[in-house]
Symmetry: C2
Subunit: 303 residues, 2 copies
């Protein structure tokens, strides 16, 4: 199976790198780092074992890439409008495109542009960062949940999961909506609050007022999911997420890093869309809507 | 009528100063500024006409003050625990104490300490600041609404209003609960959001997301007031407050100034108490509770 990696950063560099390191046929699209990686290769510093790819298959335009059986989209979702141009050259009739991105509504938007496309969601549980050109630092975790959105070829989806496992990545198949909404339970409180209060996950959980707020927001996401027909997330899942996060090291979620490095924040797919979806089904996520407003205000001052 | 002013800052300095300037019998309690004012008097720079009090009656302890007929409490509410000591020396059997402070629950707490005391609320609509020792800068507005909490002597309350008017202060008698809750409609969104988003009133109202948030929060206060039995605040009052604030110059509410100058914020009476009062009556102010949590977090980092 041939893999295409759209966006070779903290996520695409890590998962694509692991697949390539396990001798899978992987083709990387790069943008700013292309020249550096062409000269120096790709370095993955990983808590699970570091490695270097001396001569990965890299491209600075998708028009020169081969058609792929599986495409991992690892862009920030604020750049998804580029997919209209980036995807067609590397698709064949049965290509599976997996969006390894945060938020709600991503697959539905891409499906509108590509009605025949086989789509899946990839939910990455990983702490990694691209700290300099061609260098990915993977600090902890690394599993990925795959949720099938519109791929009728289940053998293909299972094949991807197998390849991930062979490459040393913990990968699991999960119900699409359950996967996306469960990730949102963590993402929606922590991404925005660490920006709004200029802090990190551990500090939010040490303060009783913000601990309660985080939990209230998680319950809002779970109730929003229920309103949207996603029933298999129990409210106890909030407590489990909080316990897990307390065990994590002090952490800046991706939106906090985006904010700190003056990059656009993924407000649309992490906040606006799930809030809209829940509202369409009659549930108002009041605190998350307030956090969205604060983030929109902060972003308007920032840019 | 003899007036005692507890706290000679932006509020006490202005209203007490105006009364003294109109030849009322006014006695000021000062703390840090005592020596300066003893030497230099009190300067009121005011858009309504500046003046200087050469030798006001000033004290650095209430034990040396005479008994007063009316006491204006103009402390920050975070210092109200001092009133247990400060008030008794200046009270006689019929003294009226007016709390010119922001928030909900202030009179009820003081009444618990002084069950026989005649209490009223003073709601000041004023932009003023004490910019240096002995100098009050009054920029705009200046009216005060008086709400009678527990004073049976209505002649006394009306006498105060008359004295205020004679001193050039627009003063009106208003239903106690209506006065406190109407002020909260403005205070609760603007005080906290300007701190949480490090901004000013005009910028909040220029951004569509935060304009909507401000309005939602005002509606929460109004619905909270309704739940507490205060029916005579219409939801259109929110729009009126927003229109008025749009007409105001760019403004930092008192909590923002407290935060900027590293003074404790009045979170308890401006947020915690009204949120608790509404909750006791079955109404949850969700967004304001979230803002309270953010402020508690910010304060815990600050001190």
């Amino acid at each position: 199976m041939r893999y295409g990696i759209i966006g070779t950063g903290a996520i695409g560099g890590y998962y694509g790198g692991k697949l390539a390191h396990a001798s899978k046929d992987v083709h990387f699209l790069l943008h700013r780092d292309y020249d550096y990686v062409a000269q120096n290769g790709l370095q993955i510093n990983s808590c699970a074992g570091s490695f270097h790819l001396d001569a990965p298959n890299i491209y600075n335009t998708s028009r020169q890439m081969p058609q792929c059986d599986v495409v991992l989209v690892c862009l920030k979702s604020v750049n998804n409008h580029y997919l209209k141009e980036l995807l067609p050259p590397i698709l064949h009739d049965n290509t599976l495109v997996i969006l390894i991105q945060n938020g709600i509504g991503l697959e539905s938007d891409i499906q509108q542009c590509f009605p025949q496309l086989s789509l899946a969601a990839g939910l990455a549980f990983i702490c990694s960062a691209k700290t300099e050109p061609g260098v990915v630092n993977h600090q902890s975790y690394g599993s990925i949940n795959i949720g099938n959105y519109s791929c009728h070829d289940h053998t293909l989806v299972n094949g991807v999961i197998n390849d991930f496992k062979e490459a040393g990545i913990e990968a699991n198949l999960m119900d699409y909506n359950e996967a996306r909404w469960k990730k949102a339970v963590w993402n929606m409180p922590f991404n925005g609050l660490t920006v709004a209060l200029n802090t990190r996950t551990d500090l939010l959980l040490k303060n009783p007022a913000t601990l309660e707020l985080v939990r209230d927001m998680m319950i809002e996401v779970i109730e929003g999911a229920h309103a949207c027909g996603v029933q298999n997330i129990e409210t106890t899942f909030a407590d489990k997420m909080i316990e897990n996060t307390i065990k994590m090291p002090s952490y800046s979620p991706s939106m906090k890093l985006d904010f700190d490095f003056h990059r656009p924040m993924e407000i649309h797919y992490i906040y606006t869309r799930p809030i809209e979806e829940a509202a369409k089904s009659g549930y108002i996520m009041k605190k998350l809507k307030m956090l969205e407003a604060e983030l929109l205000y902060i972003e308007s001052k920032e840019y």
